[in-house]
């Protein structure tokens, strides 16, 4: 039995794994809330509406942690992902998911006890709230206990990404408990700070927090009792938050990779050849999980996903990830693609308490198959990572690898070396074969008409 390293904050329960399955314990303090939601049919409704990850009450005896009163079995998620890796619209949808749940719960006398972005995950079909114990009975006339968390986990990051810069989403890596509202307000362009709903939920909110903190610091206790918020008032706040979230839009500017289809130097028949080989490898291996590294707008992720595998499509350009998210979430047959934004030369490290709470990319490996198409020349020549390091890294995250070698004579490589005067790390076919041959067995290879070569490799010792 292994208690999940991210599951220690809530006294109501914890998540653990045993015998390859995922379970949730409900401890004594959470029993009343759990029973209330269960007996009212709240969980059933939320699961049927596709808002909450499903569960089954089970009894597993001594496999569960001490103090377990109820034990729930959840389906295993194909990949855990974090808000700094999400596209803008995915974070927005995660915010709206919380508000949809609140809309459903409030008239029934329930609410969400927290509004944590990490509690939303993609289950291979859509976004779901994964923390069953977030649902609890509303405390009558109380303000929403998770309001501050909602603003700092969703509204502030969305507003900054849309109006300051999309790259501010990487601030999440530092502020894993949500963005400080005062910082978010200061970073927003002046004229956006005073958009009515952003002003109310971020500007005014930050000011009140600051005033209350200062009074508390000066030992002038501000409140002995909590302010009242009526049911109608809370419904109004949730509605206002929905308008605020919906009103934040990112005008995605096309950057070079998004237009790559139009500017790439090789021909349509080369793409067709490459696509055909990707399809062949995927069909032959029948992997369950594929990671497409440096996926661009996901052209090959889509081909891979059509074989039925769950595809994690990773690219450093937020515009590409956004493009693919919108495409894959609109089309039912592409719902098994999870687009993530990440600089592969600086992938997600382990973060949070004891550096264990949020997993590094490597901790989430291995993928059954990793695609590295037209990627490694960028890592060697732009990010200055030696071929041997790249091969070792791929061996640490994949069982099988489909890697494309782009020769030094290729126009794209020449473009990268235009101003280098030969001062770059070794990059040729021999060095490639030597480096990757140390960690992988070459199973098959296919030379394309444009002199690029696709290598299908199997990790050594597998």
């Amino acid at each position: 039995m292994n208690v999940n390293a991210a599951s220690f904050r809530d006294p109501f329960g914890c998540v653990f794994s045993a015998q390859g399955k995922i379970y949730r314990s409900v401890f004594q303090p959470g029993v009343k809330e759990f029973e209330a939601a269960r007996d009212e049919g709240i969980f059933r409704e939320l699961i049927d509406a596709g808002l909450l990850l499903s569960h089954k009450e089970v009894q597993i005896g001594s496999l569960a942690p001490e103090g377990t009163v109820y034990c729930l079995n959840h389906p295993k998620l194909p990949m855990i992902s974090y808000p700094w890796e999400w596209s803008f619209s995915m974070l927005k949808d995660a915010a709206l998911l919380h508000l949809d749940i609140m809309d459903m719960l409030l008239p029934r006398g329930f609410w969400l006890r927290d509004a944590n972005a990490f509690n939303v995950q993609f289950d291979g079909r859509g976004l779901r709230l994964i923390d069953t114990l977030s649902v609890g009975r509303r405390v009558p006339e109380s303000p929403w206990v998770a309001y501050s968390q909602f603003c700092s986990h969703f509204l502030a990051p969305l507003a900054l990404a849309a109006y300051c810069d999309i790259r501010t989403l990487s601030l999440w890596r530092n502020y894993i408990d949500g963005y400080p509202l005062d910082l978010a307000v200061r970073m927003l362009p002046f004229w956006k700070r005073y958009r009515p709903r952003l002003f109310m939920h971020l500007g005014l909110h930050a000011r009140f927090q600051d005033l209350a903190d200062r009074k508390e610091d000066m030992k002038k206790a501000t409140l002995k009792k909590m302010p009242k918020v009526s049911d109608r008032g809370l419904i109004g706040i949730v509605r206002s938050l929905r308008h605020a979230v919906n009103g934040v839009t990112w005008k995605r500017k096309s950057r070079i990779w998004e237009e790559y289809k139009n500017i790439r130097t090789y021909q349509t028949d080369d793409v067709a050849q490459k696509s055909e080989y990707v399809e062949k490898v995927v069909n032959q291996l029948a992997p369950k999980i594929i990671w497409d590294m440096g996926a661009n707008t996901g052209e090959f992720s889509i081909i891979a996903a059509k074989g039925g595998a769950f595809v994690v499509s990773i690219d450093g350009d937020a515009a590409c990830t956004e493009y693919l998210y919108q495409k894959s979430f609109k089309e039912e047959c592409l719902r098994n693609i999870l687009p993530l934004t990440m600089d592969l030369a600086n992938p997600t490290p382990p973060l949070g308490w004891n550096s264990e709470e949020r997993l590094s990319l490597r901790d989430r490996a291995p993928a059954d198959l990793t695609l590295a198409l037209a990627l490694i020349h960028h890592l060697v020549l732009s990010s200055c990572v030696p071929l041997g390091y790249i091969a070792k890294w791929f061996a640490s995250i994949s069982n099988y690898l489909l890697v494309e070698f782009v020769p030094p004579s290729d126009p794209m490589v020449k473009k990268l070396l235009k101003n280098r005067r030969g001062e770059h790390l070794p990059y040729d076919l021999e060095a490639f074969r030597l480096s990757f041959g140390n960690f992988f067995d070459f199973v098959d290879e296919r030379a394309l008409n444009n002199k690029r070569i696709l290598f299908f490799c199997k990790r050594k010792g597998r």
Binding site: R9, D10, P11, F12, R113, D114, V139, P140, E141, S142, P143, W144, V145, A146, Y147, S148, Q149, C151, M200, H201, L204, H205, R207, F208, Q209, D210, L211, A212, D213, E216, T222, L223, K224, K225, M226, P227, K228, V229, S230, R232, G233, L234, I235, G236, I237, R239, S240
Partner: protein
């Protein structure tokens, strides 16, 4: 800004208080107060919204359907 804060604080003082809610998160005092302010504004807007819908329904019932009947 100052005027808004004074107005907001006045609204809070007029709203009254209830018992502390159980929460494992720190709901933050400032966030509680700002919600009381926003809830007061929101409650008014929800009430106005409900009233407005009823008003529209009322006029819709008495005048709007005539066209449909004419079409039939």
């Amino acid at each position: 800004m100052g005027k808004i804060m004074i107005l907001a604080l006045t609204v809070v003082l007029l709203l009254g208080v209830s018992d502390r809610a159980y929460a494992y998160l720190d709901p933050a005092t400032g966030s509680m107060i700002v919600q009381a302010v926003l809830a007061a504004i929101a409650a008014v807007s929800v009430t106005v919204g409900v009233f407005w819908r009823r008003l529209k329904d009322f006029f819709g019932r008495h005048f709007g359907h005539r066209n449909n009947r004419d079409e039939e």
